[in-house]
Symmetry: C2
Subunit: 570 residues, 2 copies
């Protein structure tokens, strides 16, 4: 079955729970945006996803992208769907109107990409990097460069790549060796090899804009020697530049997206931003990309859940305990406790995850558009803390949870028939790319939390507790324990490896608290829903408490035990 | 890299930790078996696996089994390897000498299949069912039938299948509809469709022996109406019988093993055992198969671990905390705490799992060959409790743990290059076949533990604690808590769904206790090992305590919370 876009579920969170239309209308940039417009865009985007993109998913996996003598042929239908996509204005949804965008709130881009990823992860990889590239060019390119590339990238007429990784250096960008040699005309000749470049070559668009990390001749070693360059596949005079795709990788999944090994042979490009500041410029792009990856996780999990739910509603196997005899020779598997638990648990993740993602989209808009400093800073703090947590939590859940959904189908899940195994294979990569989940955890604990001894985190928790619709003693209790724990980790003196060992536990624990926070906002509004929807949401909330949150206590226990016997600063 | 058989690791557990050569020598059937012979067989089997079977793994995945007009072509090299395998006597290792077997202890079959599964899971599916089929025929077939089939199945000259599942009935065998019509010559004409039949058709052997569940004309509905039949592909007169393979499934992995949709068109076969007792006869086969599946899990996890370990020893990325500068521009990733934790944790599972599996092999031999009733019954209790726990625990760990090993390789794990993603895909099916893991959990709690209120389990825990090399207060504490919890679950009156909801937690908790038990036997012998091996085992033991066992407390907490407010029997 193709993915069904059920925009009423998303809208309930956006409108009734988060009150997003009212919130964004307070930002001057969205003074013209109201609930009706947002709902209309959401529904239209859902329609596009369901009608145009979802039906191409299976072919994308089975046919896949194919390399032929340096060209990459995309699966049947992918180019037409992409052309329809950008021509309808979807990539420009939340770009600035002065760049050719539609100036809509980030949440509509979030829901668009969540649904796209659920419907067809492979296809969605192509436009998935566009917005980051747009922001990067907008903030770092010279006016000349913007004139040539910003509009084309904003609208998605040309697709973009991030060329970071090199064969000998995976996560460690500081080891990158690609060289940039100044040319007489002010451009730079880029030479080197990059791997794992999503969409490095394809036939979706007539040009491809590569953003490439490379070193100027006099650059120091390490990350501070990296500069960012813009290298097009075809230059403004129509000349094909020496940027080659040598092969595409054979992967576990995501076959609809070509993962390219790229070779730059003195390919001319322009410096983007300042020399030696390439990593900083690229990180703007990567942070946006990380929220997108969290949304991929939520979308993929929802796609897997839909299949498991549909199967569980029609398949009968054995007698379910506590279910009245009904004349059938066996009961629906959705009535078996083990199956019910798996389905409800995944909904707890999906619906809580959506709340967190849409809330983050709001904070992104606030960070950019709010008129007062205070709101902008508070919003930035949310984004800084939430981004690594969400990237890691929801990609891990996409893999493990879609595997649980596969389990609901038994042997029918392991074969291709229902298509659920594709989601498991596709989802696995999200735990790796855009910074592995382990790197997200270290980013959270070492860079975001510990430097100020956990102060910003504590303030943030207090603020979030205060803004709940009703006081929540359990969330408050956990926040207190968490703040103490954070201080204790910050005080450890004699064990430099300890925070790195505990970073995953720390991220999981904070993420579970955020999931509980999300549900503390959702639960009071469930009365607004009609049955049987209300029952589904209530079961998910109960599953959160019974089956998901106990991990929080386990994580705290692991960290507490590890702290025993450590030396602390006075 | 191909799987490396490191038999010294296995032998350390078998000989120094479990003292298996002394233990089996006490059984009359193995009076002639000594440590030297066992070690020799172990090493020879490891050599065969490494030289003949391991190199075919990648081709098995990429080329896969292919269906052509009802025939199934196995991947290149598979037939030759299988012919060499059975002609060398490997399938008959632990079969009775009077049936053409070698009469060796079950542990040597366990280690053989663990290594085979690690080296090439797809290929190993073919002989994987042989021993169960052998036991089934040995215990249930008439003498005539045994004369025709027992020897051929014991030696593996002919391969065997289990034909259980039907399209409309997955785990619920009681719904099976395949019919058996008595024929004039005493045989039965079998008609019906079976799906998910591993090795239903192939070119490895000249004949295939199908064991088929079907209903006699007067049989009642449900499981009690099922009888077991033996239907060969080719009858004793050389005639090809009407047993057809209509297709093979496209699967997430395990491409080297054809998963067949079979059609029996009045195919003549013989009744195996008594009418209406088919399920019982089949379960003999399935219990043996479940231990094999646990061994597949352990093997696959070890295969994934070897690749991750090798990668982590050669790949350098960034600075690792607490590691002295060494003139290299980056540190080995094995020195990064997050990577170390993943690698050590998986070793805790593999090595503890091996101890449990080899111990279970010993108990299988005791249950069959011990001269006194008491030993046989104690051994049977171990097997009854350990089989569902191990099947579920080690197949889940095979999937999740091999995914963790994949994570160590980052993007290089997601592409085919190192072959680790194949293990993740292959491992996924082990959580489903031979009874899904949810069914194992229900089997444990509902059938094995609760009927006597947890009495047998409690006795078993006491006995295991008493036979530890040294008292272990922590294991004893957990056993007490577990016994109380079990009694409390047994006393619940008003919630028929509750034990089914908690079955997974119950199985995980008991499984973690067993893993801790295994390490309580292993740890005191680590001093016997030379460095650097000793350090590797010690790190794994530490990982068990720090990162694995906290889940036990979480499971207890989940169950305790669920029990609050339930009504109990007086």
């Amino acid at each position: 079955m193709d993915y069904q876009t059920r925009t009423h579920d998303l809208w309930f969170l956006i409108d009734q729970v988060l009150g997003l239309p009212r919130q964004v209308a307070r930002l001057p940039a969205f003074a013209e945006v109201d609930a009706d417009l947002m709902r209309q865009v959401l529904d239209e985007s859902g329609k596009f996803v369901a009608e145009v993109v979802a039906p191409l998913n299976r072919a994308g996996d089975e046919q896949g992208a194919r390399w032929q003598a340096g060209e990459v042929l995309m699966p049947d239908g992918f180019r037409d769907a992409y052309q329809a996509f950008w021509q309808a204005g979807w990539p420009a949804l939340s770009c600035d109107p002065q760049d050719g965008g539609q100036g809509l709130p980030a949440v509509l881009e979030a829901t668009l990409y969540e649904m796209l990823s659920a419907a067809n992860h492979g296809w969605t990889m192509a436009p998935g990097l566009l917005h980051g590239a747009y922001e990067c060019i907008k903030h770092h390119a010279s006016d000349d460069l913007k004139r040539m590339y910003l509009g084309k990238v904003a609208t998605g007429e040309w697709l973009a790549t991030m060329c970071l990784t090199e064969p000998h250096a995976g996560s460690d960008l500081g080891l990158a060796r690609t060289k940039a040699q100044p040319m007489a005309d002010g451009r730079y000749a880029i030479s080197g090899s990059k791997i794992f470049i999503s969409g490095g070559e394809h036939d979706l668009t007539d040009n491809i804009v590569h953003l490439v990390l490379a070193r100027l001749p006099d650059a120091p070693p390490g990350p501070k020697g990296l500069s960012l360059f813009l290298v097009p596949k075809i230059d403004p005079h129509g000349q094909r530049l020496p940027v080659y795709c040598d092969r595409i990788e054979e992967k576990m999944g995501l076959h609809g997206s070509p993962t390219c090994a790229m070779r730059f042979e003195a390919a001319p490009g322009w410096l983007l931003g300042e020399p030696g500041k390439g990593l900083g410029a690229m990180f703007v792009m990567m942070n946006a990309a990380r929220l997108h990856v969290a949304l991929q996780g939520i979308g993929l999990l929802d796609a897997a859940w839909q299949k498991a739910d549909a199967y569980a509603r029609e398949r009968r196997q054995m007698r379910a305990p506590g279910v009245a005899r009904n004349g059938q020779e066996a009961d629906l598997i959705q009535d078996h406790p083990a199956v019910r638990r798996m389905l409800d648990t995944q909904r707890a993740w999906i619906d809580g995850g959506r709340w967190l993602a849409y809330r983050t989209a709001l904070e992104l808009d606030r960070a950019k558009h709010a008129s007062d400093d205070d709101t902008r800073q508070t919003a930035q703090r949310w984004c800084a803390l939430a981004t690594p947590v969400m990237k890691s939590m929801f990609t891990q859940q996409a893999f493990e949870g879609s595997s649980q959904c596969l389990q609901v189908l038994g042997g029918h899940g392991y074969v291709r028939e229902w298509g659920i195994e594709q989601h498991v294979r596709d989802a696995r990569v999200t735990m790796i790319y855009e910074g592995t989940n382990e790197i997200q955890a270290i980013d959270l604990l070492q860079r975001k939390v510990l430097p100020d001894g956990g102060l910003a985190l504590a303030e943030w928790m207090v603020l979030e507790l205060a803004s709940l619709p009703a006081t929540d003693p359990d969330l408050a209790r956990r926040a207190r324990i968490w703040q103490e724990l954070t201080q204790d980790i910050a005080r450890v003196q004699n064990q430099p490896r300890l925070p790195f060992e505990l970073a995953d536990d720390y991220l999981r624990g904070l993420g579970l608290w955020m999931l509980q926070l999300a549900w503390a906002h959702i639960a009071p509004r469930l009365g607004d829903l009609p049955e049987p929807e209300r029952a589904r949401w209530r079961s998910a909330h109960q599953a959160l408490r019974r089956w998901v949150l106990p991990e929080w206590d386990m994580r705290v226990g692991i960290m507490r035990t590890a702290l025993v016997g450590t030396e602390v600063a006075a």
